[in-house]
Symmetry: C2
């Protein structure tokens, strides 16, 4: 029975969801005496959950479970492995198997259940409700509590527990290097794997939340240092406002909160007491801050007021979470300033945007395009929004990098942030002109997606926790103790020399790992360069420097390291940036005719098109590009999302708009070139 | 009718509460036509809430309300102004007045209602319930939304709205300088006033939460810089773990969570959906982190693991909140490390404690005593706790400064943080030795309470947002424009010179304020030194430097500023430290006989006594010192809390314990000198 038919039979209604979380249904056969009938184990888990066989064994109280072969599917479920899903369970066969359920599956989310031939989005509530209706024991398993396999054995382990479905994206020889998923074939799987194996991030027990390990937090600290320096020069001061906001205050400004309301997390209990008034966790701090701006700003001499805070905000999204890009709690900075004049506010918006551009270009080696958001995409309640927009080559999607908003006087009028006119109390009072601007840990995800590869992370040198690793090499059975000591001492001396020169260097002197293993380990973590020191290097008083991004090698005299290593790191930065820029530049195409629009999108481009500036036309572009308007029935790329194109920004840097140019969609007069794309 | 009798008549039961939040009941008379009967306005508010008459007028829809005179109290309530409280309201008189209630008053808190002759602690629920039973309209007012009066007029305004009760602590001539409450007479009122008027902190709409304004956040940033530098040298890395923890995981370790459970804030809703599992906001991160430590630590080569995070934690205490000292959300750092051996963990505990001492001594100019906590006071679930303990001279109370815990193997055994023995897989596995250590924004409160005075804040120079303010002086009606310009230019040049020398300097060139007003303004904010530049200074090419802490003046040649200002700031730091140290030293007295114990406490001392080390004896000391064991019926100092003395620590630096010394309380053999005191 096909999936749809099975679901219909079970009265499970399919729902529509752009971003349902994919589920997998795996079947394992435990080791069973030949004379006995096996009790297969059915595991229902998020596709992103790794399900080590050890944990399956202990949870199902079974021996050595292995992925079941075709016969098991036929015998127990009367279907094929390819067409099997949770919908094939019924009271009869469920009584003959063990059922394990991933604890990450919750009633409140939407999931995608798929077989090879079809798929459906279903409410978690319906799935779990159906399983309960089977009247058999269900075991919920917290797979995240499983100990990670040790480095040496982990890739084999991972390879063993892969489902057949993953094989297509499986890297040849991957066992040696840790990363087993090909960036080009399974981008989401690859992304998750390099983040976790590269020790940037750990999946967490609460869905949508992640642990930022030192490898990613160090990137954030470099960004903080840079940005603090830049804004303090502008007279911005750091402060800290509470994470809580009362329901009454949060809901004061209806229009603004409307967009956030479905995602607000509410504290309703403390200890065992119910709170009389529910307290929200800030999704952003406009309503937290502005009542106090109104209090503090009494005279034009209190302006400008420029505050920034580094904090976490919570947006309890029900869409499929993605590390760094869509998380329920995330770190960011939010600046909120108030000015006496529009001109001053207006100028600051662009100064901040320049700093954001600089974080991308000069720290993360990621090219971005500066521009203004359309009316449809601007910050709700603001006057206008400026943005830096990036591009992810692997998916051909645009991504918003950071935004700097001019709020105009909308908020100051709502919150009464006003001063007497400097010209006298008899003149009308003046409402402040306000800005707000924010950049989040999303930047780290963008950086990783763009530079990293099938060997692991590639971290640009200026934000890398470790910029250079020193590894002793060339020690064999024939090496004498004196020679070995000399190599280790030499490596240690090189490490110290680099540290003294201000390079974030580490020496890897672990005795029981081979140099090759160490190379892979540091490549996995994305360390920009490694310095190898062996007998010949020592003799020549030089080291071999190898770049992470392209394996280019250089011999550098030890005496020249202080001068050369910073140059090599800068060159590496520039090369990463230029490579990414070339990719963005070649995939940012000008499209004048609508017939070329969707094919260009499908070819992983973002698009610059002449546009009329009308909101309805923008919505039409999104709707029309979501369908397969190129006439073909099949998508060009299986992984390309079928979502429509949104406007990303109206770039400041505009192609020349010739007299009489028509809007790409509606044919009315075009007013500018706007950048459109599928996006995150 | 006396307060107690009134309450009894109303069936409002008094409750016991160490730290009930004080309430005030104010009565206002609006402007009323002479022929009409006035409708007085009764305002029930937190004593800490400022209740501007403008807001009272608009809330009660009345004209120009003024504090009511004696006749109104007699006419409407048949009592005196001094004896009036909420308990004097009844259905009859309530119908003749307007009643405004501070929105900060909540059902779940305990309040102190007082008249001149008596006071009682009552449940908010009972108070609000009683008011509702009056069957009249009650208007709830959010006084925090009121605009603050502008600086020039604010002290007068504040003075006007003061109740008679405040007069005793009222500073003479205070209108000129902003602070109107005497540190020695009303310490809590003074503390609140210097924090808010000094622009360190703002009271927030959600009770127990406060806004850290740049003046206090800058202190925190200096501490972060120092501490990051210190721990990174030790190999500690920063990371960020989520603020949420699932109920299941939080409650995994019952003993540990027991102490936190009543204070845990629970998220139960997102948008309009009820969450299936309630999610806690971390009160501390042991249970957040350690499941992942178990995952990451697989081999002895993964040890030591040393992570730290800068974050906020939430403890929803129902006791009276106090800025920085007891807040529902607070910022801190929490370090969590795991080691292979006890020796390594043990050594780190003390290294960290040294860094904490250094933050107090070298940054905040606050003396602390290092020591070990008793078994009763140590961190629940840990092996032992070390601490730095401070002393607040104004109240004679001790205060815990920061703690560094050795957790032993208790948590590692619960969370299975273990490795194979380096001696072989056949040997028993080894559980990690763990530490955790934390320092919070409480340090800022301690610093403020110790150094500041009746002119406002005194901020030690190494953590001051602004270290030096440059103020042009001596410009009169007779000054020519050229002379004035020369003075302003000279001041600006001095400011730039200081900035170039790395001093955090600001020039105050506001034209419409007098130098005297500016002096007071910067004194209020606690800026360590001001530099005055007038015509004579300019002629002599020197500036007048005035120290905030003691008004000491120096003439410094402009050419010598780069060298002299750092010296002056360092000397100021040392003087602040030495003054505080002298106070701590002279109020840390050795008491050998129990009869001297409570009198010494009442004389605002902390006490070093020989002690037996038995937990029951410690509890006995607390109980016995809470009563008036000195035989007198009256407290020595009205403000001295009647709470019992807790053990603060067993100082590392011990007086010589002579053979045969007996415990100060129980008379058994003493094992050390322990420091006891009333405390925060």
């Amino acid at each position: 029975m096909a999936l749809e038919a099975s679901l219909a039979a079970l009265s499970i209604a399919a729902v529509s969801a752009e971003n349902a979380t994919p589920l997998k249904t795996l079947v394992f056969k435990p080791k069973t005496a030949k004379t006995a009938t096996p009790v297969p184990i059915v595991v229902l888990a998020l596709t992103s959950t790794s399900t080590p066989s050890g944990l399956i064994a202990s949870s199902a109280n079974a021996k050595e479970p292995r992925l079941a072969k075709e016969e098991i599917f036929q015998e127990f479920f009367q279907t094929t492995a390819k067409e099997f899903s949770v919908a094939n369970l019924n009271k009869e066969n469920a009584a003959k198997v063990s059922i394990l359920i991933d604890s990450n599956i919750s009633e409140s989310e939407v999931y995608e259940v798929s077989t090879e031939s079809s798929k459906a989005a279903l409410n978690g509530k319906d799935i779990l409700g159906y399983l309960k209706s089977l009247e058999v024991e269900l075991t919920t398993v917290d797979f995240s509590s499983a100990p990670a396999p040790a480095p040496a054995s982990e890739s084999k382990q991972a390879a063993k527990t892969k489902t057949a479905k993953d094989t297509s994206a499986h890297l040849e020889g991957a066992e040696k290097i840790g990363i087993t998923i090909d960036k080009n074939l399974d981008f989401p799987g690859w992304y998750q794997q390099i983040l976790t194996k590269g020790e940037m991030l750990e999946y967490y027990d609460v869905s949508g939340c992640y642990i930022m390990r030192p490898g990613s937090y160090a990137v954030w600290e470099e960004i903080q240092d840079y940005f603090n320096g830049a804004i303090k020069k502008m007279g911005v001061k750091n402060a800290y406002f509470p994470m809580f906001v009362s329901q009454r205050v949060l809901e004061k400004e209806k229009d603004h909160i409307e967009g956030f309301a479905p995602e607000v997390a509410w504290v309703t209990k403390a200890g065992s007491s119910d709170l009389e008034e529910h307290i929200a966790i800030r999704p952003t701090s406009e309503t937290v801050m502005y009542p106090y701006y109104a209090k503090w700003i009494q005279s034009h001499r209190d302006l400008p007021l420029k505050l920034n805070q580094w904090n976490s905000v919570v947006r309890w999204e029900f869409k499929h979470p993605q590390p760094f890009l869509r998380t329920r709690e995330f770190l960011w900075q939010e600046g909120h300033t108030a000015h006496l004049s529009f001109e001053e506010a207006d100028a600051e918006v662009l100064q901040i945007l320049d700093h954001y551009e600089s974080i991308y270009h000069d720290l993360l080696a990621v090219p971005v395009v500066k521009g203004k958001k359309t009316e449809k995409e601007k910050f709700a309640g603001g006057l206008y929004t400026t943005t830096v927009e990036g591009y992810i080559p692997a998916t051909g999607r645009g991504i918003q990098g950071a935004t700097s908003h001019c709020l105009g006087q909308n908020f100051s009028k709502m919150f009464n942030i006003s001063v007497e006119s400097p010209e006298g109390a008899d003149k009308p009072k003046l409402f402040a002109w306000q800005n707000s601007w924010g950049l989040s840990t999303r930047v780290i995800g963008v950086m990783v997606m763009i530079h990293s590869d099938n060997k692991g992370l590639v971290i640009p040198p200026r934000v890398a926790q470790t910029q250079a690793v020193v590894i002793p090499v060339g020690i064999t059975n024939k090496t004498t103790k004196e020679q070995a000591d000399a190599i280790y001492d030499g490596a240690k001396a090189v490490e110290n020399q680099l540290l003294a020169a201000g390079i974030r260097a580490v020496g890897d002197y672990r005795a029981n790992y081979s140099p090759g293993w160490k190379f892979s380990d540091w490549e996995l973590k994305g360390t920009p360069i490694r310095l190898e020191l062996g007998p010949k290097d020592l003799e020549a008083q030089s080291v071999t420097v190898v770049r992470r991004n392209d394996s280019a090698k250089f011999q550098v005299k030890i005496a020249d390291l202080d001068a050369e290593i910073p140059k090599i790191l800068d060159q590496l930065h520039d090369d990463l940036f230029n490579k990414a820029k070339e990719s963005f530049d070649t995939h940012r195409v000008i499209v004048e005719d609508w017939k070329d629009f969707v094919p260009a999108l499908n070819a992983k481009n973002v698009i610059l098109s002449p546009w009329c500036g009308v909101m309805e036309c923008e919505e039409d572009i999104k709707d029309s590009s979501a369908k397969k308007n190129d006439g073909s029935e099949e998508e060009v790329d299986e992984k390309a999302p079928s979502m429509g194109a949104k406007s990303l920004c109206i770039p400041f840097n505009q192609p020349e708009l010739k007299e009489g140019t028509k809007c790409v969609k509606c044919g009315e007069k075009a007013i500018n070139y706007t950048m459109f794309g599928r996006s995150y």
